[in-house]
Every structure is written in structure tokens, then in C-alpha cells.
């Protein structure tokens, strides 16, 4: 076994030191009837690297990779070009095989990176403080709701979710709320050019601990959040803003600027890649200093060492469950350290100039796609505003169209029918995302195919 360094001679020598006749003697505490005598049946025996690689490559090749298709999927996960140096850096053994930085003297690499990451996220979100990452956007969203409940100290039990919140995020919140007994107000969105902000505001009352909106929303719409923030704050509720496409914030105002209290989101767009949904990267930030000690997850802070040199440590860890046990502020223990590194490296390579250009390039291509697709007979573009994703209506079941086009290696987008299976009104909607990786040729391929399929 190539990963096991002990030789038979080593094993014998060690057993002698221990004073045991054989290895099984070390398992004597295991009741004999539960001890397995041979390898578990039905499973294969060990295999060479070459054989395993071949098997896994065969499985990999059964999937249609995004790069091999005309690709338009988004809905919370976006295909962006990741610079080659990002992967090089995350494969450095000192990052890849490091442990959680509980021993700061020999973990300054991870800690300084996290401090830089926190600063980058806070600035991107227009916030005061960001944490050192969470599992993904959907769990970060739930953690934000739970944090709002904690701040309301159980006196407010209602959570108002925008209908235009990603339905999987809403589902996670609802699942958890079943057990914590928060009351969730939620409905699926109407297919309108503008989100129904007035309706949302009307649902906020004195029992509301928080309002959750997505920006840009699940249909791709971009709207001013300040009125919602004002309405929430008037009722003593917090505004939680969810962002699933961080690249957008290179082009549009930050949630922090518009009165959000907690901003959470998915960071997968930068550095992490698609990976069939995970591991991704939950981002979490707050605009007010007073909420920092209620935050979930790890925080990295600056300090000095015994010689007065600047250094970084995990801090405020009395919030965390490995210390605080049943009084912890979150369910997070392991987070997404390596994904945070990938995000931070990609953001560093972009810098402000690169991020803004990347955002505008995404938007430019999306505008082009909107223009081209609006010329396809049978297609109606829903959005007035959008960043790199928008909704079109096909006048027929979009799921079927998606499947048909997939046979031609066109991944046309995410049908609203897949996201909202219970709402037939949305069945003809298709969410189309366009990034810098989309070519004008791809857009033409999609448009022509739609012309053909819809005619």
C-alpha cells in the first residue's frame, strides 16, 4: 500500500515494544462478535494509482463539462475564468495540508491570508467586518437569520423572505426554522420586470426579526434596497442581503451602502469553480461594530507577539462551539479555508481595476445576449435591469426546451420550473447567465437553437 509507510519488520518491532502478540490484541476492547475478521465483503481490494485514475477518468468523461458546451447556467453558481496561478497557490502543501490555525506561531500564512480575505469581503460588501468564511451561500443565509433571531433575543419570531430569494436558500431557512420554531413568511416570485418591493415592505411588522432579500435577485433584477432597509429599521428589524454573484459588486452599489445590516453570499464565482455544487464559499459580513460578537464562524484578528511584532490570531472564539458548547453562535466548526484562499488570491489578482473591468465585461456580454435573444420569435425578455443574468419567457415549458438543447451540447440556462417545481405560472421562464467566458458565438448558438426549437 503506497500510502502506508510501515514495513512488516517495523510492525513486528513496534508490537514488541508495546508488548502485544499481534495487532488484533490491540483491538481487545472491541467485543469479539463485532470484530471483523477479514476485509468487508462486497468491496474491492486495493488498486494501483493507474487503475483508480482510469476508473475516475471514465466517470468524469460521462459528464458534459461546462467548457465543452455553450453554457448559460447560473442561479447561484457561475462559470468564470480562474487564473492558473490560483490553483498553483492553493496546491502549495503549506496551505493545502495545514490544520486550522489554532497554533498561530506556525500558522501566520493562513492567518494573514484570512485577515486579508476578511478585509476584501468587507469592502466588497460595503461592510464593517467579515468573518473567515462559511460553508456556502445558503448556510450563510441561514446563519444570518439565526443571528437576527439571537439579536432579537427570542422576542421577534417572524422572518420575512423575499419571493425573489433563491428557492434553495429559502428551503434551507425553512428547514432549519422548523426546528427553531421561527415563523417564515415567503412566497414564490411573480414574473414581473420589477420586484414587488412594496408587497415585501407591507409584510414587515413589529414581530419581524429580519427581512431577507437577494441582490441581484433570483430573476436577475437589480433594485434599490434603501427603501426596504428604511422600512425594516423602522420596525426594528434587520435587513439581510444575499448576493450570489460577487462579481456583480464590481459594477453595482454594495448592499452596505444601502442600509443592509448583514450581508451574506456565495463566493464561488471567484477562484472556486463550479464543482457540481461544492465545496463553495459562504461570505458573511456586518455593517455595525455592535453586532460583531453575535457573528457566527471564525474571525481572524491582528495582535502582536512577545517581541512586539505584528501577527494574527483567531479571536473572539468564545462565540464558537468548540469553546462555548451549547451556547455557541453557530453550527460552524470547519469552514471553507482553502476556498477562501482561492477567492482571496483571485480577488488580489483582479484588484479593483480588474474587478470593475470583469464586471463590466460580464454586463456587456449580457446586454448583447438580451438584445440577441429578444429577437428570437417566441422569446420575451422579462428584465428591465440585470447584471449578468436575466429571465426570458419561452411561451412553453422551459424544462423541456432545456433538455432538448442539452442533447446538442447547449446548456441553455436554469428553467424556473426546476427551481420552483410547485408553481406552474413560472414554467415557461428560463434564467440565462452570461459571463466573460461566454463568447458571442455561444450566444448565437443559443439564439439559433431557440429559434429552431420554438418554431
Amino acid at each position: 500500500m503506497r500510502y502506508l509507510p510501515l514495513t512488516e519488520a517495523d510492525r513486528s518491532a513496534m508490537l514488541e515494544t508495546i508488548g502485544a502478540p499481534d495487532v488484533d490484541a490491540l483491538f481487545s476492547d472491541v467485543p469479539e462478535e463485532a470484530r471483523l475478521t477479514g476485509p468487508i465483503e462486497g468491496l474491492p481490494m486495493h488498486a494501483s494509482e493507474m487503475a483508480v485514475e482510469k476508473h475516475m477518468r471514465r466517470l468524469s468523461k460521462k459528464n458534459l463539462a461546462a467548457s465543452d458546451a455553450a453554457f448559460f447556467l447560473g442561479a447561484g453558481a457561475y462559470k468564470h475564468h480562474v487564473p492558473a496561478s490560483v490553483d498553483h497557490i492553493i496546491q502549495r502543501g503549506e496551505f493545502l495540508t495545514a490544520y486550522t490555525p489554532y497554533q498561530p506561531e506556525i500558522a501566520q500564512g493562513t492567518l494573514q491570508m484570512l485577515f486579508e480575505f476578511q478585509t476584501q469581503v468587507a469592502r466588497l460588501y460595503g461592510c464593517h467586518v467579515a468573518n473567515a468564511s462559511m460553508y456556502d451561500g445558503s448556510t450563510a443565509c441561514w446563519e444570518a437569520v439565526a443571528m437576527a433571531s439571537r439579536i432579537a433575543r427570542g422576542k421577534k419570531r417572524k422572518v420575512v423572505l423575499s419571493g425573489a430569494l433563491h428557492p434553495h436558500y429559502a428551503e434551507v431557512v425553512k428547514t432549519m426554522a422548523k426546528f427553531t420554531e421561527d415563523e417564515i413568511a415567503h412566497a414564490s416570485p411573480a414574473l414581473q420586470a420589477q420586484p414587488d418591493n412594496d408587497g415585501l415592505i407591507a409584510r414587515i411588522d413589529d414581530d419581524t426579526s429580519c427581512v431577507v432579500v437577494q441582490y441581484p435577485d433570483i430573476l436577475g433584477r437589480v433594485t434599490d434596497l434603501q427603501p426596504i432597509a428604511d422600512a425594516a429599521h423602522e420596525k426594528g428589524a434587520l435587513l439581510i442581503v444575499v448576493n450570489t454573484e460577487p462579481v456583480a459588486l464590481g459594477a453595482i452599489k454594495s448592499p452596505g451602502e444601502m442600509g443592509a445590516d448583514i450581508v451574506v453570499g456565495e463566493g464561488q464565482s471567484l477562484g472556486v469553480g463550479l464543482q457540481f455544487g461544492g465545496p463553495y464559499l459562504g461570505l458573511f459580513a456586518v455593517t455595525s461594530q455592535k453586532h460583531v460578537r453575535q457573528m457566527p464562524g471564525r474571525l481572524c484578528g491582528e495582535t502582536v507577539d512577545a517581541e512586539g511584532k505584528r501577527g494574527f490570531v483567531l479571536t473572539l472564539s468564545t462565540r464558537e462551539q468548540h469553546i462555548r458548547r451549547e451556547k455557541a453562535t453557530s453550527n460552524i466548526c470547519t469552514n471553507s479555508g482553502l476556498c477562501a484562499l482561492a477567492f482571496s488570491v483571485h480577488m488580489t489578482l483582479l484588484g479593483e481595476k480588474g474587478l470593475r473591468r470583469l464586471a463590466l465585461e460580464n454586463h456587456r456580454l449580457a446586454c448583447h445576449a438580451v438584445e440577441r435573444l429578444s429577437k428570437v420569435p417566441g422569446v420575451t425578455v422579462l428584465n428591465d435591469s440585470f447584471f449578468n443574468e436575466f429571465t426570458i419567457r419561452l411561451g412553453t415549458d422551459a424544462r423541456k426546451v432545456v433538455r432538448t438543447l442539452a442533447e446538442r451540447d447547449i446548456l441553455a440556462g436554469v428553467s424556473l420550473g426546476r427551481l420552483f417545481p410547485d408553481n406552474a405560472d413560472l414554467a415557461d421562464g428560463l434564467l440565462v447567465a452570461v459571463t466573460e467566458t461566454t463568447t458571442e458565438e455561444d450566444i448565437e448558438t443559443l439564439a439559433s437553437a431557440l429559434e429552431e426549437v420554438l418554431s
Binding site: 502506508l4 485514475e53 502543501g93 459588486l249 461544492g278 466548526c333 471553507s336 479555508g337 484588484g351 428584465n383
Partner: protein
């Protein structure tokens, strides 16, 4: 080699990514164009590679040396796993692609699920939890859903005092009251005391086996039987599964739910704190309540994705909901499956045997210089536990651990489990060679000797690390959690004078 902060060397006008200059065309951003400066400095690629390479060298990792961390299973991360995870068919597929275009991805999930079921002797597995603690939560929610399904509103979860902190936190998160279970002098759960406490208000017992003292819970089956007899469920913390993989199946011991840390037993890299992955294996009683989405293989061998809309079709109507947006940690699944296929059933058994052998070797090579509180009662499992008994008065376990840094090692787990004074928990794992262990043992014997002799230099260790002891109190008292540019009277505000080395 000091490395300045990104914010001290980068410039907002510098970029390491070539992108076209923005056109002057009108935007359709709903009038929300971001006008203000964001404050994100950039670096060119040469500068970025150097910045992060230098930072990395201030880290310790398995690639550099031994991690004797108890309960954390820091083993070697095979490079094949990294290569496989980057294959385009795994790394470059979207979670919402039409299922017809991702049969290979679904097969990976299904194959891995079957391995986990076979290795644990359980009935089903929830694959989507994102890490160990998330898996614990998933398991407890399954238990709560099963109890609710039979209209049973139990309020209490029993947890041993020596449990991982995540156990009580999880139970509390799921709305339960947490009560302690006492331990015997031998470091195991006190079966009689447990039986005395069991009753119709107990929803579940959360046990770690092998436990955090590094010992196998001999009475596990009896515990399970007793819990089941009063209608409760048994949750097993799987963080220590590496000790028994291929040797014992938790299902045979009556466990109802157990999370598996793929980033421990199955060697997906820790990455400086994640990502992890925490699938939860479930007994027949709990499997119907596992969350969506998941993957099944039908009789024809085809794999299917089960989500809300088609749960009926696959008879999975009692799912308690969804724990995360997509399918779980696919990137970790490919690595873990690669690891399992590499080892096979025979290799995994060898993993447990070598891990336990290494731990006992460490225990017996040190128990003459360090106090091993449970040493006399017999062999340990995958980790060796010592106390600070015998140290000079002013030397603590922390001092010894920091002294170990100067010997070139990451410290062991300290002050855990709580049941032992000044505890030191050492888990060598199976991927350390005898030569590596012998060096470690020699180093620890030397530091232990200094701790007993009261060597004052230990109080200020480490001396040879990138940093001396850091002031954690200051960090918590005056938290500085983000960089702020100093107000510079003139010149370049983003470039500090502190310099780069």
C-alpha cells in the same frame, strides 16, 4: 522573511488579469452603478505568486512534518486525489445541469454512498452536509424528525462530559436540552448511570466511539440496546472512525446515526480550516427522514437525483428538508472515493490497524516519562492520552506544546478531553513511519524532561517559529478584524514603510 499585507503592497490600479477596457455603452444596471471607490488593491501575477508563496512558508503542514493532533486525524493527503478532483467532468460541471448531462457525477455520489454504507453497516446516508458539525446537525434533525413523525416530543439529549464541543452545541441548535453522562474512572461511559437516567424524555444519546480518551466503548451495544428500549436513538460522533474503519461496523453496535468526516478518515485535505465534508450514515429507522437532495441507483443500475419534485417517485416523502443549496461537497466526494478505491477493503482495514499500532507505540514509548492516566487499563485505540502530572509547578501543558514547536513539530491537542488534567492527546495516524515516530518520541521525551525539570525557557517558547507567543488577549479585547489604511500625510497611502522582508 516578513511579508507585508496585501493592502500595503498592492495598488487599486494594478491588476494581474488582463481584461478589455470598459466600453462607453450605456449600462442596464437599474441605475445602481457603483460609483464610490471600493478599496481593493491588486497585484500583478509575479507579485501575487510571491506574496502567497512567502505567506505559505509561515505555515506548518503535513507535507512538512508530523501533526500529533488528537481527534483531528491529520493524515497524508494523496496527490492522486487532487488530480482526480480537477478532472473537467468533476470540477467543471454546474449543480443544476440537466441530469442527463451528469450521470458520472451522480455515480460518484452513489458509489461513495455505497462505500460509506458498507463500511459502517448502516442503511442509508445523507450526503449533503458540508462538514462534521453540519453532519451532526443533520443526524440530530433526522432523529427529531423521526420522533415528531411518531408524535413524540422528547426534550433531552444526553452527552458525555468528554464529548467534542460540537455535540452539545448541535443538540442545543436543534432545540434540545443537553445533559451530561458521567464517565467511569477508566475513561468510559458509565453504563449503569446512563441506564438510570434513561426515560421517555430522552430523545437521543450522543456518543463518541472510540471516545475522546482514545478508548473503545466496550459497552456500546449494551448502551444502544438500553437507549432503544426506552424509544430513544443513538447518535455516534464519527470523528474517530479512522481507528476502526474496516475493523468494526457501527451499525453492528446499534448506532442510528453517525457523521463521517471525509476530511479526517478519508483524507480530503484540511486546507487550513476547510472545506470539510460530513455525510451522515443512518439506520433503517432514520433513513426515511434524511434530507434532500440525494442520489439513488435503480434496479437497472441507473442513477437518479432525488429532489423535492420527484421524492414521491422514489418513495422518499418524509425528508426533513434541505440542509444546503446543492448536492454537498462534490469536490470532497471525488477525493474520498479515490482514496477508498486506492485502499480497498483490505487497505482500509490496514489503515485502522496501523493507526492503532502507531498510537500504542507512542503510548508505550512515552509512558515512563509522561503520565498516561488510562495506560494501565490496556491498549488505546488510535490516540494516546497523557496528563500534566509530574510537570514542574509553573510549567503547563501549553508550555510543553509550544516547546514542541521549537523541535519542529505541531503541538498535540491540549486540554482535551476535559476529564484529564492538562490533557495531551496524540493521534499519529497510519501515514507516519516508524522512523518519524521515533524522532517525535525522542523530541517529546526531551521536552517532557525539561517540563519536569522546570526549564524556564519553555515558558517563552517557541523561540524558532515565525512568531513568538502571540497576545490573544489583546486581539479579543481590542478586535482589529480588517485592515484600515493609515492616514498618510503625503505620498502613497497604500505602501507602508514596513517593507517586504
Amino acid at each position: 522573511l516578513e511579508e507585508p499585507l496585501l493592502f500595503e503592497v498592492g495598488h487599486v490600479e494594478t491588476t494581474g488579469v488582463d481584461l478589455p477596457e470598459p466600453s462607453s455603452a450605456a449600462t442596464r444596471l437599474g441605475g445602481m452603478d457603483r460609483a464610490e471607490a471600493i478599496g481593493l488593491p491588486g497585484l500583478s501575477e509575479p507579485e501575487a505568486v510571491r506574496h502567497y508563496t512567502r505567506l505559505s512558508r509561515q505555515n506548518y503542514g503535513i507535507d512538512l512534518g508530523f501533526f500529533p493532533l488528537g481527534s483531528c486525524t491529520m493524515k497524508h493527503n494523496p496527490r492522486l486525489n487532487e488530480k482526480v478532483a480537477r478532472m473537467p467532468g468533476f470540477a467543471d460541471v454546474h449543480p443544476l445541469q440537466p441530469v442527463q448531462t451528469v450521470p458520472g457525477a451522480l455515480e460518484v455520489i452513489n458509489e461513495l454512498a455505497n462505500w460509506l454504507i458498507d463500511l459502517t453497516g448502516m442503511h442509508g446516508v445523507a450526503m449533503s452536509p458540508k462538514a462534521g458539525a453540519h453532519g451532526e446537525l443533520c443526524g440530530i434533525l433526522c432523529i427529531r424528525a423521526a420522533l415528531e413523525a411518531r408524535g413524540d416530543a422528547r426534550k433531552v439529549v444526553l452527552v458525555p462530559e468528554s464529548a467534542h464541543g460540537t455535540n452539545p452545541a448541535t443538540a442545543a441548535f436543534a432545540g434540545y436540552e443537553v445533559e451530561d453522562i458521567p464517565a467511569t474512572a477508566e475513561g468510559r461511559v458509565d453504563l449503569e448511570a446512563l441506564k438510570a437516567r434513561l426515560g421517555p424524555d430522552v430523545a437521543a444519546v450522543m456518543i463518541t466511539n472510540p471516545n475522546t480518551c482514545g478508548l473503545f466503548e466496550r459497552d456500546m451495544k449494551a448502551i444502544s440496546d438500553a437507549v432503544h428500549a426506552v424509544g430513544g436513538f443513538v447518535y455516534c460522533d464519527g470523528a474517530n472512525f479512522n481507528a476502526i474503519v474496516g475493523k468494526v461496523r457501527p451499525g453492528d453496535l446499534g448506532v442510528d446515526a453517525m457523521h463521517i468526516n471525509l476530511h479526517k478518515t478519508f483524507s480530503t485535505p484540511h486546507g487550513g480550516g476547510g472545506p470539510g465534508s460530513g455525510p451522515v450514515v443512518l439506520s433503517e429507522a432514520l433513513a426515511p427522514f434524511g434530507p434532500l437532495p440525494y442520489v439513488v441507483r435503480d434496479e437497472d443500475g441507473e442513477v437518479h437525483l432525488v429532489e423535492e419534485e420527484n421524492a414521491d417517485q422514489y418513495g422518499h416523502t418524509q425528508a426533513f428538508g434541505r440542509m444546503t443549496a446543492f448536492h454537498g461537497q462534490m469536490g470532497m466526494f471525488t477525493r474520498a472515493l479515490t482514496y477508498m478505491l486506492s485502499h480497498g477493503a483490505d487497505g482500509l482495514k490496514q489503515v485502522a490497524e496501523d493507526a492503532v499500532l502507531n498510537a500504542n507505540y507512542v503510548l508505550r514509548s512515552l509512558d515512563d516519562v509522561l503520565d498516561a492516566p488510562f495506560g494501565p487499563s490496556g491498549p488505546c485505540m488510535h490516540e494516546a492520552l497523557f496528563s500534566d502530572d509530574g510537570f514542574a509547578e509553573d510549567i503547563s501543558t501549553l508550555d510543553l506544546a509550544k516547546g514542541l514547536i521549537d523541535e519542529g513539530y505541531h503541538p498535540m491537542t491540549m486540554y482535551f478531553p476535559l476529564v484529564v488534567h492538562g490533557a495531551m492527546l496524540i493521534e499519529p495516524t497510519e501515514t507516519e513511519s516508524k522512523a518519524a515516530l521515533d524522532q517525535f518520541i525522542a523530541a517529546l521525551r526531551s521536552v517532557a524532561g525539561r517540563a519536569k525539570a522546570g526549564d524556564a525557557t519553555l515558558k517563552t517558547a517557541p523561540h524558532y517559529a515565525p512568531r513568538r507567543r502571540l497576545d490573544e488577549t489583546l486581539a479579543a479585547r481590542k478586535p482589529v478584524l480588517a485592515y484600515e489604511e493609515p492616514v498618510a500625510p503625503s505620498g502613497q497611502p497604500t505602501m507602508s514603510e514596513q517593507g517586504g522582508r
